[in-house]
Symmetry: C2
Subunit: 265 residues, 2 copies
Amino acid sequence: MKLIHFLIPLLAATPASCAGESDGVTKFRLFNYTDTGGPLNWYGLDPVANEACGKGNNQSPIDIDTNAIEYAPAGALKFTLPAIDGVHIENLGFGLDVTLKNGTLEVNNKIYNMVQFHFHTPAEHHVNHEHYPMEVHFVFQTPENETAVVGFFFQLSDTSKTPPLFESVFSRIAEIADPGSSSTTGLLDFQELTAHLDQNRIYQYTGSFTTPPCTEGVAWYLSAEPLPLDVKTYNAVKMVVKFNARYIQNVLGRENLLGIAMRHL
Amino acid sequence: MKLIHFLIPLLAATPASCAGESDGVTKFRLFNYTDTGGPLNWYGLDPVANEACGKGNNQSPIDIDTNAIEYAPAGALKFTLPAIDGVHIENLGFGLDVTLKNGTLEVNNKIYNMVQFHFHTPAEHHVNHEHYPMEVHFVFQTPENETAVVGFFFQLSDTSKTPPLFESVFSRIAEIADPGSSSTTGLLDFQELTAHLDQNRIYQYTGSFTTPPCTEGVAWYLSAEPLPLDVKTYNAVKMVVKFNARYIQNVLGRENLLGIAMRHL
C-alpha cells in the first residue's frame, strides 16, 4: 500500500477546479457526495468549470425506460481489452479507479482509447425505476477528447459467482481502505466481459459525465444484463467506495432538474 | 392480492397535496423518486404543503458521523409491539407500507402510538459516508401528532439469516409487485427486534419526514447495529420498492441544500 498526497473536500466552501495532478499521482478531488460538496452543489463549487452540472440539458445518470431507450445494433461495439497483470488501482475518496491505457473501443467506425475504469455504489443509472447495488464504468476517449463509456450493472447473487475479472480487480481491496491509498490488481482477463457484452442487449444514449465537470456529449453504452456479485465482495467494495451515485437526472433534452427545482424556491 | 385505486404521478406537473384517503384504502402518492416528481422538486410540486422540503433547515435523511452524533442513553426507549398475525401490507409505488396500529414507543416519559412501518432501498441515512442496502422505519405518533421514527439498517449477509420477523413481513411479496396492490403479512413477532434495540447503541437526532411534506420536529432513533439480510429477500424487496431514498441533506440547522444550490444558479 502506498499513501499519496490527497485531499478530501470536507470544507466544501473551497472552490473546486476539478481533478489536478502535480507529480503524476497526486490527485485532488474537490467534490464528494455529502453536504455542500455533493451533487446538488457541484455547480456551486465552480460555476465556470462545472457549468454543465447545473445547466446542462443532457445530463447523466438517467432512469432507463427499457421500452423507450435505444439499443445498440448487435455487434456494433468492438470492446478490445488485452489481458494485463498488476494494474494501478487507487482509492480517490468516493471512487475506486483502475488506470488502464491498454485497450480500445470501436463503434461506428470511431476508435476510442481506454483511459480507466471505476465503480459506483449504488449503481448510478436506474432501470425502470429500480437500482442495482453497483455499476462499473469503462471510460474511453478519442485523441480529440470525445468520450464513450461502457457500463455494466451488478446484481447480488447467492447462486452465481462474481466474474473472476472483478475478483482479481478487488483482490487487494483491504489495502486501499483509506482515500489516497493505492495498490495493484491481480491478472485482468477481459474475455468473459467481452463475451458478456457481445451476447446481451446494450442500452445506448448520449449523456454526460456523472461527476464534475459533467461534460456532455458522452456516448453511453450500458449492458442490459447485469453481472453477478457476491455479498462479501459487495460489502468490501461498498465500505471503500462509500456512497458515490449522483441523483437521477430528468428526461434527456429537458431543462436541468436544478433549474426546475429553483424556479419555485 | 387486492388491486385498489392508485395513481402514480408520472405527470409530475400535477400539484401534490400529500397523501389522501377517500375510502380508507385509496391512496394517492403524488411524488416519486424520478424526474420532476423526485426529491429535488418535491417543494415545486406543492410549495405550500411541501414548504419544508425546500426551505427546512433540519431535514432528513442525514449522513451520520458516528463520532459527532448523539446516542440515546441505554434503556431510554421502550419499544412495545405485541405479536400480531396477518397485517395489511401495501405497495404504494416506491414504498411498501405495513399498517400496524397496535404498539407504542415510550421515550422521555412520552408515549407515541404505532402507525405503520415501511422500507427504503437503498437506505436513506448514511453512516460515515457509507450506505446500507435497506432501511426500515417504524413510525409512531402521539395524539398531538408529534412523530418519532425508530429505524434499522440492513446489511447483506451470506452467513446470518434475515430475522424471521422480516421473512414474515415479506412472505407474500411476489403478490404485491404492482403499485396499488396489497396483501397480508404472516405472523409478526417483534421480540427479536426489541432485543436488538435494547442491546445495541442508538443514534438520535431531531429531523424531518424523508417524504413530502418533509415536516420537521421528528424524533429519530436509529439502531447503530444493522440487521442481516439475505440476497433473495433483498432482490425481491428492491424489485417491488424500487429506488426510494431521498438524497442526503446537509448538517442539521444549516440552510436547506436546495437554497444553497440555487444561490449560484
